[in-house]
Symmetry: C2
Subunit: 123 residues, 2 copies
DNA sequence: TCACAGAATGAAAATGATTGTCATTTTCAG
DNA sequence: CTGAAAATGACAATCATTTTCATTCTGTGA
């Protein structure tokens, strides 16, 4: 674990959720922890290898990262205004694990989002 | 449904699985169905809107498309080779509906994907 | 049939994330 | 201290995707 990897981890802790490489870079630039964008990418690769961070993809394909081991949750998003509620996914975790092992898959992850119209927008 | 959308559909039928926009373009170029790359992207957007094709992401973030069946289902995808199993989502449908109404959301949809390593790739 | 508005097309340029290059700096064991 | 190896970051390159814009098609009403 070298210096820049540590900086990236600190940034990820600060955001407390997902962040793209570019966001992490911006955050570090703002503070006194200036670090090159290239190095951010390299640090993230390395942290991925060591399974210290998780990689997901936004809808547009951009990679977003988060610390592993943070509690995993899902989102309920309003299609119209974007209001978001965080959701615990107990039921889904089990469902995903069952289905996957049932088909011989291992090293399982999953993604789930619910969308709809929030009470304000559904008038 | 215009001419280029049809061509893209035909190409997708031919591959019988996933294909990226660029692959579809290459396939059509080879045959006598020449069509511009831009148009392939536009046709895919349109087919996505009409829910005639499905969009997934490869590990590297590239978008891949395929024809989607009539029934609403979810996917169990191998992170390494892309092997896909279609899944019925009974449990999830209920979960999504419960959570959403619980928070006052209406007109509900959802998305769920499970990924892992298939038995072949997990060796 | 003709004229014309609007949609469709595609070549080329723009965009934006990610990766490669390479010269410079830091680290550290001997 | 000293040289080798690792780390760093500015910059250029790559690659999928989107935009732009000029051109071609298409259908409709006269």
């Amino acid at each position: 674990m070298n210096k820049s990897e540590t900086k990236v981890l600190v940034a990820l802790e600060r955001v407390g959720g997902f962040a793209s490489a570019q966001e992490i870079h911006r955050i570090l630039q703002r503070g006194s922890q200036s670090i090159g964008l290239t190095t951010v990418y390299r640090a993230l690769q390395s942290l991925l290898n060591d399974k210290i961070v998780d990689l997901l993809r936004k809808d547009d394909g951009e990679a977003i990262y988060r610390l592993c081991g943070e509690t995993h949750h899902h989102h309920l998003v309003c299609k119209s205004c974007g209001a978001t509620v965080e959701i615990e996914g107990g039921a889904i975790e089990k469902w995903a694990k069952n289905i996957a092992t049932q088909h011989g898959y291992t090293d399982i992850g999953h993604m789930a989002e619910i969308f709809g119209l929030c009470s304000k927008c559904s008038t």
